[in-house]
Symmetry: C2
Subunit: 334 residues, 2 copies
């Protein structure tokens, strides 16, 4: 049988109000005698507060939703870990959801989180949303955006990286290494991420007086299968190229694989650059040159921002943005 605040009140011979105040360190003037007594009784009976009941009245659940495309994509576990660590530090817990970039699932999950009355949501917007109202618009739950941008009310903050600048760094690096015909294989250009990286790619070419050629751009999905398909495509099309810049490491690793299996030497014949710096990038051979994103920090900071917003009502109005630094990690694939 679960012990309630009522039982404690009865045993300690005080009122439930007193017990409640003591257990929450609220009452400013409660004799230390009763305080200790109540504490003791609570301890002795192994009292576990019922957060449902509490939330019902306080309208706070100390729970936040984490909505990401897929935890099995190596980009996200670190991020999820950062988020959970910060949440835990602050006494929050995390409900996590995988959308697979599917708009219906996204909708369903946001509704579910509304019903569960999460205090806020850390959200990676689907790469497939091309417009229309995001489900986060409907409710009134504060949202922190992560990785991918999106315009909407309810958005209280953003944790992003400068994708344009990062792509620019990567492609410039390739050019400095003497490469001129650079293929760009990436995810759907509907996502702001892919779009900005595309811009960075173009800008680097332009600043180095290399003509942009649409045929060198292969936009599909941020998945390893797409890396395989796109590499074979570009190879079969017969356009000459001496480097590949990839929208993420998963793609880059597939590119490496296909290229090697078709007899190319990396980086002698073709250089490859990835994006994300997942653990695998340092393990494969040749080591993958890539852009390091601070995944753990992204998750951590997003939750920090969210909790800040929640607990400091004066911050509830303003939007905040953090652009995290990326770093070019040079390995032997270039």
């Amino acid at each position: 049988m679960k012990i309630t605040i009522k039982d404690i009140a009865r045993i300690a011979e005080v009122s439930t109000a007193t017990v409640s105040m003591i257990l929450n360190n609220k009452g400013n003037n409660i004799s230390s005698a009763t305080r200790e007594k109540v504490m003791r009784v609570a301890k002795e009976n192994n009292y576990i507060p019922n957060t449902m009941a509490r939330s019902l009245v306080t309208r706070k659940t100390k729970t936040i939703g984490l909505v990401i495309p897929d935890i099995a994509n190596p980009f996200f576990p670190e991020l999820a870990r950062g988020a959970e660590d910060k949440a835990n530090e602050a006494g929050y817990s995390i409900i996590y959801c995988n959308t697979d970039d599917d708009l219906e699932k996204e909708e369903k999950y946001i509704n579910m989180l509304s019903e569960k009355m999460v205090d806020g949501i850390v959200f990676t917007n689907s790469a497939k949303r091309t417009g229309g109202l995001s489900p986060v618009d409907r409710g009134c739950i504060p949202v922190i955006l992560i990785d991918r941008d999106l315009e909407s009310k309810n958005i209280k903050g953003r944790v992003l990286i400068d994708n344009l600048e990062a792509a620019y760094k990567a492609v410039s690096h390739l050019i400095r290494r003497g490469r001129k015909n650079i293929v760009f294989i990436t995810g759907a250009l509907t996502s702001t991420t892919a779009k900005d990286r595309h811009e960075g790619y173009k800008k680097a070419l332009k600043d180095n007086a290399i003509k942009y050629n649409e045929k060198y751009v292969k936009a599909g999905e941020f998945r390893s299968d797409w890396g395989i398909i796109a590499t074979n495509q570009i190879l079969d099309e017969g356009l000459p190229f001496d480097a590949v810049f990839c929208g993420n490491d998963l793609i880059a690793i597939s590119v490496l694989k296909v290229l090697k299996s078709r007899g190319y030497s990396i980086p002698k014949d073709i250089s490859v650059v990835g994006f994300d710096d997942i653990y695998m990038a340092s393990v494969i051979e040749p080591g993958l040159t890539t852009i390091k994103q601070p995944n753990y920090e992204m998750g951590y900071i997003a939750v920090e921002m969210l909790i800040d917003t929640l607990e400091k009502p004066e911050l509830l109005i303003e939007q905040r943005s953090v652009i995290l630094e990326t770093e070019l990690i040079v390995r032997s694939s270039t």
Copy 2:
């Protein structure tokens, strides 16, 4: 302003009880006229049920806890994904927690989950627990164990693999390939997982008339750092060996790395076998021979079992166990 059941009752000119029944498909005899009316009013006003209030009375939260060591360990994301998929199918959501195999954190999280009144917990027991009461013992929340075994009341089921048999398969494979001096690098032998794999290792040696030598066993942690340390140790100790069986792929990948950097040729000089078959195992070079564990299924089945237990009270008494099949994946490291 949030719409409540009361508002709907007022607008639709019925009682809250009626509204409640309709919204939950409960009342067996309600005129379709009122039913439709209530449904319409609910839709029109964008009614979102308050699960707190509901849970408070039903004592069910439709939430389950997933307690694992570390989502950033590549073994777990797939498992977490399987768990979430099944939970989602059944209308449950998942609160996820990382314990880092730390007993204090484990305790803290289990308490937190009790307060949040999760309906059940899917739990990977810390590899460091050597005895004493697990925090899952204290409460009365049904628990499904995953990956690592543990004895305790409240445990309603287990989803495991036959680690002994799997290790036996792996080591036998090495022996068939002509290897005789097989090093075993693994995590702490306090975990049932490491222990059983150790037994399998010993059994395979014995069945092939190879003497077991303690010096060939390096038990530390299931982490890549440990792979590096242990490999260097064994190399420096100067014992001759021609194969390494690793407690997991993370370790195996480190072993591969160190071995290569110290000039050994794989598998010519030394064969390496891992355990888990994480994605990386197929990507690195040489491809890592390993034992494939059905991670996704483990998560999926664990949640399935949990929900079954929760929703069919007649199952609440009996314990259930599933031992999933493993498979030896032969790649070029052997």
